[in-house]
C-alpha cells in the first residue's frame, strides 16, 4: 500500500473512532503541481487526501485558528519535521496543548516521500535532535554566502532593492505558524513604531521587525518565502538568524514542547564581545 493510501486509512480510522474531530491535510489544487490545505471532518471524505512530493506547505499554523482547540477535542494534522518543530514552539509558547494534536508525520528528503513513525510530539524527539546536528539544505546557499561577503553598503543596496518590491500584503506574516499575535506590532498605532506605508523605508522596517520576532523561533519551513508574491528571498534572512542563535546560544527552535524560548531566557556567561 502506498504511503498516501496508508495515511488515508489512518485518517479514516482516527475520524471513525472519534479520536479526532478533524484531519488537516493536503488535497488536489488548481493545477497538477499544486496542493492545497483541506480540512476533513468525515471518514467518507478521507479519499480526498493527497500525499506526495508537492505537499510542501507547513500546515501547523491552522492549529492556532481561533476556537479550533478550545473544545479540548483532538485534531490530526499532516506535518513534516519542520511542522513538528513548529508545533513544539507553539506548545512551548503556550499557544496550544500538544496532546490535542495527533501528528501524521512524513518527510520529503530529496523530494522522496517517506513516512515518519509516531503520533505525538514526544515521539519525534530523537529525529528533531538529529536534525539539529545536520547541515540544513538551503535553497540559495550561494546567494547567502555572497551576501555575507558583501560590504555593509552592498548588503544594504541588495536588501533595498529586494524590500522596495514589498507591497505589504503581509502574506509572509499570515503564512507563518509563528505569527499568531492577535495584534501585530504593525497593526498597533499607539505608539506607531514602524511605518505602515509600503515605501522602501517602511518595508525595510517591517522586514527587520518580522525577522527579529522570528529569531530563535523560526523553524525554516519556508511558508513565508513561498507565500511572498514578489519573491523576496525571506528564507535567507531566516537562515541567517537561525544560524546566529545556533552559534551563539546553541539553540535550535522546536526540539521539545518545553524548550525555553531563546530570547526569553539567558545565561550569565552569554558572550558579550561587542559591549564596550
Amino acid at each position: 500500500m502506498s504511503i498516501e493510501q496508508q495515511y488515508r486509512t489512518r485518517a479514516k480510522e482516527l475520524l471513525s473512532a472519534g479520536e479526532v474531530k478533524m484531519v488537516i491535510g493536503y488535497g488536489a489544487g488548481t493545477t497538477a503541481e499544486r496542493r492545497r490545505p483541506i480540512f476533513i471532518t468525515s471518514p467518507d471524505e478521507t479519499e480526498r487526501l493527497v500525499l506526495d512530493s508537492a505537499c510542501i506547505a507547513n500546515l501547523s499554523g491552522y492549529l492556532v485558528t481561533e476556537g479550533l482547540l478550545s473544545d479540548e477535542k483532538r485534531v490530526a494534522v499532516f506535518l513534516r519535521p519542520e511542522g513538528i518543530r513548529a508545533l513544539n514552539v507553539l506548545a512551548a509558547e503556550a499557544q496550544l496543548d500538544p496532546l490535542q494534536v495527533v501528528i501524521i508525520g512524513f518527510d520529503l528528503p530529496k523530494g522522496e516521500l517517506k513516512s515518519l513513525q509516531g503520533s505525538s510530539v514526544d515521539d519525534f524527539t530523537d529525529l528533531l535532535g538529529a536534525l539539529k546536528e545536520s547541515t540544513p539544505d538551503v535553497d540559495g546557499r550561494e546567494l547567502l554566502e555572497k551576501i555575507e561577503k558583501m560590504s555593509p553598503e552592498e548588503r544594504f543596496a541588495f536588501w533595498q532593492e529586494e524590500f522596495s518590491k514589498c507591497i505589504k500584503c503581509y502574506a509572509c506574516r499570515q503564512a507563518c505558524p509563528m505569527c499568531y499575535c492577535r495584534r501585530c506590532i504593525v497593526d498597533s498605532n499607539q505608539p506607531q513604531w514602524v511605518n505602515t506605508s509600503s515605501h522602501t523605508l517602511g518595508n525595510f522596517e517591517w522586514n527587520i521587525v518580522r525577522a527579529f520576532h522570528l529569531s530563535g523561533r523560526c523553524v525554516e519551513c519556508g511558508n513565508c518565502d513561498r507565500a511572498c508574491p514578489v519573491n523576496i528571498p525571506l528564507r535567507l534572512i531566516n537562515r541567517k538568524m537561525a544560524q546566529e542563535v545556533l552559534d551563539s546560544f546553541n539553540h535550535f527552535a522546536g526540539t521539545s514542547k518545553t524548550q525555553e524560548p531563546v530570547l526569553a531566557s539567558f545565561k550569565k556567561d552569554d558572550s558579550e564581545t561587542f559591549i564596550l
Binding site: T30, R36, P37, I167, K168, Q174, A175, T196
Partner: protein, 337 residues
C-alpha cells in the same frame, strides 16, 4: 493592408517617445519579480510574459502616495499638497485584462469626487495593449465577457504577427493616434497575418453567479465558510488585483508635522473593519472573503454596471493556499444550477 510595427523598430520608437518627453513604461523584471516600470530602451521590456506578477494599477494608484505635508504651530496650520508626477506617459505592452481593469475602476474613482491622483495619470497615459497569444491555467478573462484582445481601456491594440516579427497596429482612440503619429515613419504598411489569439476556456458563468449572489438567502450560506476555510487572511489577492481599489489614509509623522498618505488597504485584513471599541463587524475570514466576492460581483455591478474583475487570475496564481476568484465562482456556478 494594415499598419505594422516591426520588433526591430521598437527601440527607435521608444527613443522617439522618450525624446518627445514621454515616460515609457512597460513590463520588466525587477529582482525576480515582474512589474510595469519605466524603461530607457526597448531591450529592457519583457514582452514574453503571460502577465506581470504585479498589476498595472500601481502606475495609477501607487501602493503609497503622499497627499499633503502638514505642520502645526501655535499660530497656524500649514499644509502643502502633493500632486502626482505630471507629464505624458506611454505604457507599452499592457495586457487586455490589465487595461480593462483600469476602465472598470474609472467610474469608481470619479462617481462623486473626482480623484485627481487617478485621473491626472489616466489622462496623461497612452495604453498600448498587446493581444495575448498565450495564457496559463489561471487566465479567466473570457469568463468575465472579456477576451485576450479586448480593447476596453486601451488606446492602441497590437496584434502579434504570425511570424513573430512585429505587431499589427489598431488605433483605438485619439490619444493613441496622437502618440503613434510621432512614430508614423517607423511603421510600415503590410499584409503579414496576425497570429491567432489564445483560446481561454470559460470557467464559470458570471451571470448565474451574479443571480446567486443577489439572493439574500445565500448571504448566510454555509458555502462561504467552506470555500474560505483555508484562507490565511493576507492581502496578496487584493494587492495584485488590477481592480481592487480600497485605500486607507494615514498620517505618517507626529502630531505636529508629518505627511498624509494614501496607502493600499485590503478587505482581507481583520483590521480593515475593526472598530475602535474592538468590535469587528466582519469578524471571521469567511465574512471577509464573502465581502470581496460580493463587492466584485454584486455591489460593484449594482452601482457601476460592470463586474469589478477583469479575469487576470492573479488572485489564484499567487495565493499561498491556492484559493481565488475562479474556484469560488466555479463553485457558485454549480450551486446556482
Amino acid at each position: 493592408m494594415t499598419k505594422i510595427l516591426f520588433t526591430d523598430k521598437l527601440d527607435s520608437c521608444v527613443e522617439r517617445w522618450r525624446s518627445a518627453g514621454m515616460t515609457v513604461i512597460g513590463p520588466v523584471q525587477r529582482a525576480n519579480s515582474s512589474v510595469y516600470d519605466a524603461v530607457k530602451s526597448a531591450s529592457e521590456l519583457d514582452l514574453n510574459l503571460v502577465l506581470t506578477d504585479r498589476s498595472i494599477k500601481e502606475l495609477f494608484f501607487p501602493q503609497s502616495e503622499p497627499m499633503l505635508r502638514y505642520a502645526i504651530t501655535k499660530a497656524e496650520i500649514n499644509t502643502d499638497e502633493f500632486l502626482p508626477p505630471s507629464g505624458p506617459r506611454i505604457i507599452f505592452g499592457a495586457r487586455a485584462c490589465d487595461a480593462s481593469g483600469l476602465a472598470i475602476d474609472d467610474p469608481l474613482f470619479g462617481w462623486d469626487y473626482k480623484d485627481e491622483y487617478w485621473f491626472q495619470r489616466r489622462n496623461e497615459s497612452v495604453i498600448v495593449t498587446i493581444a495575448c497569444t498565450k495564457a496559463d491555467e489561471f487566465c479567466m478573462c473570457t469568463s468575465l465577457k472579456l477576451s485576450p484582445d479586448s480593447t476596453k481601456g486601451s488606446d492602441i491594440l497590437l496584434r502579434p504577427l504570425e511570424n513573430n516579427k512585429g505587431w499589427q497596429v489598431e488605433e483605438l482612440t485619439d490619444r493613441g493616434r496622437e502618440a503613434f503619429k510621432s512614430v508614423a515613419d517607423l511603421l510600415q504598411e503590410g499584409s503579414d497575418p496576425a497570429a491567432a489569439t489564445v483560446t481561454v476556456p470559460e470557467k464559470f458563468n458570471a451571470d448565474a453567479c451574479a443571480e446567486w449572489l443577489k439572493n439574500p438567502e445565500n448571504f448566510e450560506s454555509r458555502f462561504w465558510k467552506e470555500i474560505s476555510a483555508r484562507c490565511i487572511g493576507c492581502g496578496s489577492c487584493t494587492y495584485l488585483c488590477p481592480t481592487c481599489h480600497c485605500f486607507d489614509i494615514q498620517d505618517e509623522g507626529g502630531s505636529f508635522e508629518g505627511i498624509r498618505r494614501k496607502n493600499w488597504d485590503s478587505c482581507s485584513f481583520a483590521l480593515f473593519t475593526m472598530h475602535t471599541s474592538g468590535h469587528n463587524p466582519r469578524s471571521t475570514q469567511s465574512a471577509r472573503w464573502r465581502q470581496r466576492i460580493m463587492h466584485k460581483f454584486n455591489y460593484f455591478p449594482g452601482k457601476f454596471s460592470a463586474n469589478s474583475c477583469s479575469g487576470c487570475g492573479r488572485c489564484t496564481r499567487e495565493c499561498p493556499v491556492d484559493m481565488g476568484i475562479t474556484e469560488t465562482l466555479q463553485e457558485i456556478s454549480k450551486l446556482s444550477q
